[in-house]
């Protein structure tokens, strides 16, 4: 699962040409094959084939969904915007998340970054997946799932591009507590 979580984390980074390339795309489609999500795969292929500049389309969508956009950013990818606070950054849940990392013996490499960004949380799940299933379960239950379900529904509701709908469903699939 480590590789899965790291792949999911990667898929939520800003899509740059260095990594959002044919190799990545091919692995994504293969993963959908393994899961037998053929409709999603077909939609992604169709949209990519019809795009004038597919990378830019995904970049615009990422910016609109997660950074700044008209009418407003759809879903800032930070737990504290959605959960246990007043909608601003670095709320209580962000501090709790940072504390959890620390208790497990980890810290952010860029210590001033916000700890509750979805990319960090998925990367941390990758770390826990190695040898701390209890920690992973607790992290999912107390810190990840409470906000991700809100975040996911906002993205699914407002995403224009199928890529992020697929990624949301993949993250949901691999982080659901029940098997």
């Amino acid at each position: 699962m480590t590789d899965i979580f790291r792949f999911l984390a990667q898929s939520m980074r800003y899509p740059a040409s260095e990594w959002f390339n044919e190799d990545f795309w091919s692995v994504l489609l293969s993963l959908l094959d393994e899961l037998q999500w053929q409709e999603d795969k077909a939609e992604l292929i169709r949209v990519k084939a019809g795009a004038k500049d597919f990378l830019e389309d995904v970049q615009i969508e990422h910016t609109r969904l997660f950074i700044n956009a008209i009418p407003h950013v759809v879903a800032a990818p930070y737990a504290s915007v959605h959960c246990k606070g007043d909608g601003t950054l670095y709320g209580m849940i962000a501090e709790q998340t940072k504390k959890f990392y620390r208790e497990k013996g980890f810290a952010l490499a860029k210590e001033n970054d916000l700890p509750d960004h979805i990319v960090y949380e998925l990367e941390f799940l990758a770390i826990l997946a190695n040898d701390d299933p209890d920690g992973q379960k607790k992290f999912l239950e107390t810190l990840f799932t409470p906000w991700f379900k809100i975040f996911k529904s906002k993205v699914l509701e407002e995403a224009h591009h199928p890529y992020y709908r697929v990624v949301m469903n993949l993250i949901d699939f691999f982080t659901r507590e029940e098997l």
Binding site: D3, R6, Q59, R64, H72, Y90, Y101, K104, A109, E123
Partner: protein
């Protein structure tokens, strides 16, 4: 979507899947985590006090400390060492945290791949953003000359880039809202009278009378200034407030002059004429320091109490009463110079009257009077002047008008040139920390000026209305995240022990995301425009250190001194022998302007309309704070003050939701509510400025309240300064889609 494979099944075959899918090959080698041995709880739970903060929720710049817990700023407080604001900060200062952590803030460089005004944003790298800014601005410069670039700067961070564009690139077309839509008129009118800009230097704490014309302390909260004001009241100063509205200051006044808007100059002339006619002015001061008294006396001799009473719609006896209180309190009188004074397009004359009245009362250099504190001078480090071309393309000189304009170029000359292409085209625009959509009247004119540009770049902390027109939008570190401005001054009460302070802004936390400061951004653009060899400093830290070295200090030393250096000060009282007051200003006469303060009538409201005036909310700094969650909750909309008798005639009640339409047919694009009150004249409505953003990127501030600036479409230009007057606009109330006449 169909979930044909369960998670359990997938995981059971995970090894097969992992072998099949080269997942690891397509992810970054690095993760965002490092090993960090766990430290037992307790040692990291404490809150650290970080000193060196200087607020910029408004421009008063109170000194702060930050309470920081595990790299997170959790609280802001006044720096206990401060001799200026002390431990106190205002509601806005407290709410700075919510600016810092506002999820709507700009985080990364953005490129507009849509239209100006209807942007579609795409995150881009700094490299790409700076390359585009540098190359596009250079292209404009090459094709149209340096004068083809206009700049609209505001705030401490805009000074360095402004100097770059003026001194190095060589454009005169820089227009600061703080001058041309705010205090520039005041500064220039006092310059033409006292030879110096007044700031807000009145010694209210030690005054026997405080005279406010349109100032509304309590709504306009600058901490040390309000401390002076309240100390004065506590000491028994008489408070005279001239205002069409029962403002927070009027509520504390001994005399409230419920004046008709736009007639203040007539009121001041009558007060001065009364003092002169009754020999109640300070003859000794006038003889020693004033020039042109006889011409002045003659020039205001028509201003009888009855003349002014009729114009101002106040009793003659009240004008007399004001004059008598001022005379009885002289010379210990604070005649406040005002701050935002760009009201009617005749404001230079009114502010000249403030200064002349101050002189007649001898209220200069004495306790309670006009007194400039003697703070430390810290020499700034900035760009060298290397641009060639001199004044050749200076629009103001080419027009041969606005001879008393503040520094920069009057906004309307720039906008007119943009729109007409005459006398030359302006095709590049740099907006830095200013929101011209909500600071400059006539929004459509601004849009027209912007739309014809070849290139527009904006630098800001928030996605304000103007940023919707940017081609490239750059995210700036805010005042809590950067070194910057060095605040200097004295103890707030001039009769306390004389002290001076030096307080450079130092970051309380590191900048998040990819936000950068003004030195880095400007230097990178300069390099790309071919001016890399002119760069004076490489970082804000270096700049501040070099500036502090001039007063034998350093950042390191300031950190040891808890962010503020304090040293012995000098007695601010007294008047230099050569101090001169131009009651009659010959230079003004030579250029065709009234040489003695003169009342000039302005347009009256058309039938069915009423005059719209605006002001400050105590919890907002205009549009700069409209998206702040705490401040928004404290005052989410800006109610329209409407006289109770008028409201009754119109069938309106407190809390009714309304829109406004002005006499030129412009309708507000968002709603506000009515505040029914006897505390405003029947011929005036009032609202706080800085609400009703049209940028949906501001999740909180979008369409919250109504935007007064949208309704200010009639342009009035002050002839001496070229600054805008913004209270000559008239509105009707629209309720349930129906436009209602306002009875006279």
């Amino acid at each position: 979507m169909s979930f044909k494979v369960t998670r359990r099944k997938f995981l059971q075959t995970a090894s097969i899947a992992a072998a099949t899918l080269p997942l690891a090959k397509v992810v970054s080698a690095e993760t965002g985590f490092v090993r960090d041995p766990f430290t037992p709880p307790g040692s990291l739970e404490g809150t650290q006090t970080v000193t060196g903060g200087v607020c910029e929720m408004c421009f008063w710049r109170c000194q702060l400390v930050g309470k920081v817990r595990d790299k997170k700023l959790v609280k802001l407080e006044g720096n206990p060492k401060s001799i200026d604001n002390g431990k106190s900060i205002c509601a806005r200062g407290n709410a700075g945290i919510k600016l810092l952590y506002d999820p709507d803030r700009l985080k990364f460089p953005l490129k507009n791949v849509g239209e100006r005004g209807k942007p579609v944003w795409k995150q881009i790298s700094w490299q790409e953003a700076l390359d585009e800014c540098g190359s596009k601005l250079k292209a404009v410069q090459d094709k149209y000359g340096s004068q083809g670039i206009a700049m609209f700067p505001h705030g401490a961070s805009a000074k360095y880039p402004m100097d770059f564009f003026e001194k190095v690139v060589g454009t005169h077309n820089v227009s600061e809202a703080s001058f041309f839509q705010c205090r520039g008129i005041r500064d220039m009118a006092y310059m033409a009278t006292f030879g110096l800009a007044p700031d807000e230097n009145v010694d209210m704490a030690n005054a026997k009378a405080i005279f406010l014309i349109g100032c509304h302390f309590g709504e306009n909260v600058h901490v040390s200034h309000v401390k002076k004001y309240l100390k004065g009241l506590e000491n028994g100063a008489k408070l005279i407030v001239v205002d069409p509205r029962y403002s927070a200051s009027a509520a504390k006044s001994d005399i409230w002059v419920k004046i008709k808007p736009a007639t203040d100059t007539a009121f001041l002339l009558a007060v001065m004429n009364y003092l002169v006619q009754k020999d109640k002015y300070d003859k000794k001061f006038v003889e020693a320091h004033c020039v042109g008294f006889e011409e002045f006396k003659k020039g205001i001799s028509h201003a009888s109490l009855d003349w002014a009473a009729k114009i101002c719609d106040v009793p003659a006896k009240q004008i007399q009463e004001v004059a008598e209180v001022l005379a009885a309190s002289a010379p210990n009188v604070s005649v406040h110079p005002g701050r935002h004074v760009s009201w009617y397009g005749t404001d230079f004359q009114r502010i000249r009257a403030h200064a002349c009245l101050t002189a007649l009362l001898g209220a200069i250099g004495v306790k309670g009077g006009f007194v400039k504190g003697k703070g430390v001078k810290v020499k700034g480090i900035t760009w060298p002047t290397v641009a060639e071309g001199g004044e050749e393309h200076n629009l103001r000189l080419m027009a041969d008008k606005y001879h008393y304009a503040p520094p920069g170029t009057p906004t309307e000359l720039i906008r007119d040139a943009c729109i007409t292409g005459k006398p030359y085209p302006i095709k590049g625009c740099v907006v830095w920390g200013q929101n011209p959509m909500q600071t400059i009247p006539n929004q459509q004119k601004m849009v027209d000026a912007l739309k014809q540009m070849d290139f527009i770049m904006c630098v800001d902390v928030m996605p304000t209305d103007i940023t919707m027109y940017a081609d490239i939008l750059l995210p700036e570190a805010c005042y809590l995240e950067r070194y910057d401005f060095i605040k200097t001054g004295t103890q707030w009460n001039f009769t306390d022990k004389q002290q001076q302070y030096i307080a450079p802004r130092m970051p309380l936390v590191d900048a998040m995301f990819e936000r950068k400061d003004e030195i880095w951004i400007t230097n990178e653009i300069a390099k790309r425009m071919g001016y890399g060899d002119k760069i004076p400093v490489n970082s804000l830290e270096e700049k501040i250190n070099k500036e502090l070295a001039g007063v034998n200090l350093s950042i390191e030393q300031l950190k040891k001194e808890d962010g503020i250096h304090i040293q012995d000060g000098k007695d601010p009282y007294g008047v230099p022998e050569d101090f001169e007051v131009q009651l009659y200003n010959e230079d003004l006469a030579d250029k065709g302007y009234p040489a003695v303060p003169t009342y000039i009538a302005v347009e009256e409201a058309p039938k069915g309309f009423t005059r719209l005036v605006y002001g400050r909310s105590p919890v907002h700094t205009f549009n700069r704070t409209q998206n702040n969650v705490w401040l928004h909750n404290a005052m989410p909309v800006n109610p329209l003050w409407l006289n109770d008798e008028i409201a009754m005639k119109m069938g309106l009640k407190d809390g009714d939701e309304i829109e406004l339409v002005n006499s030129e047919g412009v309708k507000s694009s968002s709603k506000t509510v009515i505040k029914v009150t006897p505390g405003i004249r029947k011929d005036t409505v009032y609202m706080a400025h800085g609400y009703g953003s049209k940028n949906p990127l501001l999740t909180v501030g979008f369409h919250a309240g109504a935007d007064d600036q949208q309704l200010i479409t009639k342009l009035a230009i002050d002839p001496e300064t070229g600054c805008n007057g913004m209270r000559n606009n008239f509105v009707k109330i629209v309720k349930d889609g129906k436009s209602l006449d306002i009875p006279a």
